[in-house]
């Protein structure tokens, strides 16, 4: 059973296609990245998933079924546009939001208190939200998404506006959640975060699916298939020219980029290099998600 499954989902608003024929699935226990430039349809896709808006065509399954009120209780949501009741006390607000997710009041109270403690907000528990600093509000908002112990957590730009310390707290919390078997949908355009955190991604552009799959596979797929090597001595530069199966060599300062011929195993090249040179560094270059992202968008724009 997929935790989330979209089957050919499309949605348009007043003749503008926001989501075009999107299919993907999310598996339990993974961090799934939803990437794309602004206006690509990430937030719309999340709202479709949450049944806040309905698709024009296509089917959406959450926990194996169309979303039911009971299943909604198993989802936590941190929207991109942050919203909290400004004049309500921290504890009251967390308890209210947890109750709306079907958690009994007493239990919500206990959990809210322990969560506030874990993010150093306990001493403000009776303060109004508007009295908190921005960073604290962000942390509080994050708590409101996970207070009811959801199985599926949807985080829309969770790091935006966070200082480095808060960002690390949130990041650790996300990894902790994955370790305990929760499924996390992480929507972001911060590619470094996505690259380090996500297991698999879906990249949208103008409502369509442009990339989908595991982060590692995508990076290998988009790799130029080159190797970066570095030697201790200058003479070694000549030695590599004797290695068969290299179609191109680009020297750049101390390091050299090698482009192997089609069908040449990396393992073979490594062995050759080790036997002929004094090797300091050997690295298979994989493009960062950021590079793939920009490359994909540029090729889409030029089409």
């Amino acid at each position: 059973m997929h935790t989330v499954e979209f089957q050919s989902v499309s949605k348009s608003f007043s003749d503008k296609n926001i989501i075009r024929d999107i299919s993907f699935s999310m598996e339990q226990g993974e961090i799934f990245g939803l990437l794309g430039p602004n206006g690509a349809g990430k937030t719309t896709l999340i709202r479709l998933l949450l049944d806040i808006i309905k698709p024009d065509i296509g089917k959406i399954y959450v926990f194996g079924k169309p979303l039911s009120p009971a299943a909604k209780n198993r989802i936590g949501y941190l929207p991109e546009e942050r919203g909290l009741y400004r004049k309500t006390g921290l504890l009251d607000m967390l308890v209210y939001l947890a109750q709306l997710k079907g958690m009994p009041e007493k239990q919500a109270h206990l959990i809210a208190e322990s969560l506030l403690k874990s993010l150093d907000l306990y001493q403000y528990k009776n303060k109004k939200v508007e009295e908190l600093s921005r960073g604290m509000q962000q942390r509080l908002q994050f708590l409101s998404a996970i207070i009811h112990d959801p199985d599926l957590i949807i985080l829309d730009e969770p790091f935006s506006g966070l200082d480095p310390v808060s960002a690390k707290t949130v990041k650790d919390k996300i990894l902790e959640l994955r370790a305990s078997g929760k499924t996390i949908l992480l929507s972001t355009h911060m590619m470094e975060q996505a690259q380090t955190l996500c297991d698999r991604i879906l990249m949208l552009n103008k409502g369509g699916r442009v990339l989908y799959g595991s982060v590692d596979e995508i990076r290998i797929e988009h790799g130029k298939n080159s190797l970066v090597v570095e030697f201790a001595e200058k003479e070694d530069f000549n030695a590599i020219r004797e290695i068969p199966g290299i179609k191109k060599i680009i020297e750049s300062g101390k390091s050299v980029e090698l482009f192997p011929e089609e069908g040449i195993k990396i393992q073979f090249l490594l062995e050759e290099l080790v036997s002929r040179t004094n090797l300091l560094r050997f690295e298979q270059t994989l493009p960062s998600l950021n590079e793939i992202f920009i490359e994909t968008l540029e090729s889409a724009a030029s089409e």
Partner: protein, 417 residues
């Protein structure tokens, strides 16, 4: 959709508790009746303010034909106390205007009057008083002078009973024929009870409906403005939010109007000589519930469509004005409660709660009209709730530009898309 009614109640409870802690609510609910009570108690607390003081009045009679008594006692009614106040006016005769003026300046008399020689032809009497006391036209003195002049002129011409009738020709008393067929005298208390209280109730009703549906409007716009609505929608359905809010704030309004009615009932036993009819109370509550549902769901719809508090209040203002219009036409309703216009106002759903209660205050409204107005209101409530919950679903998440009327109408037709 009805799988989780308890979420509706969670929303309702939250809205209720949040609102009754608001300063505006506490102010309106508790200070308003205190203010009313204060106004009605003021004369009792300061008894010396309104009653007449004893006065000395000089007079110069140039006709020489009038007979002034040495003094007269006048009885004044002061509101707030059941006793009547008595004050004494002494009349002092002067021959020369200069003497009277001297005494006035010396403070020996409070004012003097001059009856000119041609008084019989013109009927003019001049009253002189010190500059500082630019007194209001003294109606009481004018009535007393009339009595003195009638007595002086006719004393020897007619018998005493005739004289009394000329001085006080008609003494009206008012009777109601009740269900028993026995006539009963109508006192001030009864007139106030049947006339003033329904109007007061109508006012309170309007205030309460406005304030609680105003809270609703503000709540929806606030949630939209600070985007928490998105979190709410990920947990509950739009109609659960709508129903929860209406329920919670309806309870707030009901609490408010019960406090007010209790204050009026308690206050009426103390300060106002009146009693409240249970039927009026009961109808007031029914009109409150229906009127509130009507307005609240309308406000929710407006709140969903608009994107800022200011904008929503402007649009809501149009409807609020329409609903308050019976107050503008109150004079018309009270003087001619059975005119087609008054009947229309008491049937039209925007205005019916206030207009009907006001009409009931001054006339026996036929039962079928009350039922018809309740029925129309009831049907309208259903219509507005249906409409608003559709708007709620479509527009809650649309920020920025307010949709045009045509687009709204289209979306109402297509419904839940």
């Amino acid at each position: 959709m009805n799988n989780c009614p308890e979420k509706t109640f969670i929303v309702a409870r939250h809205e209720f508790l949040k609102t009754i802690k608001r300063k505006e609510f506490l102010f309106m609910t508790f200070l308003f009746p205190l203010l009313l009570m204060g106004i009605s108690l003021l004369p009792a607390v300061f008894p010396g303010t309104s009653p007449e003081e004893d006065q000395k009045i000089g007079y110069i009679d140039l006709t020489g034909a009038l007979e002034f008594p040495k003094s007269i006692q006048s009885q004044g009614f002061s509101p707030g106390t059941s006793e009547t106040e008595t004050s004494v006016k002494e009349f002092v005769m002067y021959r020369e205007i200069s003497d009277a003026r001297q005494d006035l300046q010396a403070g020996l008399i409070s004012s003097y009057i001059i009856i000119p020689e041609n008084f019989l032809e013109t009927g003019t009497i001049a009253l002189y008083s010190p500059e500082k006391e630019a007194s209001l036209p003294d109606i009481e003195l004018s009535a007393e002078l009339s009595d003195i002049i009638i007595t002086s002129l006719l004393k020897d011409e007619v018998d005493d009973p005739v004289l009394n009738r000329i001085r006080d020709p008609v003494n009206m008393k008012f009777y109601n024929i009740g269900e028993s067929g026995e006539p009963s005298e109508q006192g001030i208390a009864e007139i106030f009870a049947s006339f003033g209280l329904p109007i007061l109730t109508a006012f309170l009703l309007l205030f309460s409906i406005f304030s609680s549906s105003g809270f609703l409007l503000r709540g929806v716009t606030e949630e939209k403005e600070n985007r928490i609505i998105e979190i709410l929608l990920s947990s509950v359905t739009p109609s659960e939010i709508l129903r929860g809010k209406i329920l919670g704030l309806g309870a707030v309004g009901l609490l408010q109007i019960i406090i007010w009615l209790a204050a009026v009932t308690l206050g009426s036993g103390y300060a106002l000589p009146a009693k409240i009819e249970l039927l009026t109370l009961f109808l007031a509550l029914i009109y409150f519930v229906l009127g509130f549902l009507f307005f609240a769901s309308m406000m929710a719809g407006i709140g969903a469509v608009t994107s800022s508090l200011q904008e929503s209040q402007q649009i809501a203002g149009i409807f609020t004005f329409a609903a308050a219009s019976p107050l503008i036409f109150m004079q018309l309703i009270l003087t001619d409660p059975d005119s087609p216009f008054s009947v229309f106002l008491s049937l039209f759903p925007l205005t019916s709660p206030v207009a009907m209660l006001a009409r009931m205050g001054v006339a026996a409204v036929p039962v079928y009209q009350i039922l018809a107005s309740l029925f129309i209101l009831f049907i309208s409530v259903h219509g507005v709730i249906l409409l608003s919950s559709r708007l709620f679903r479509v527009y809650l998440l649309m920020y920025g530009k307010r949709p045009g009327i045509r687009e709204i109408l289209k979306n109402i037709k297509t419904g839940s898309e």
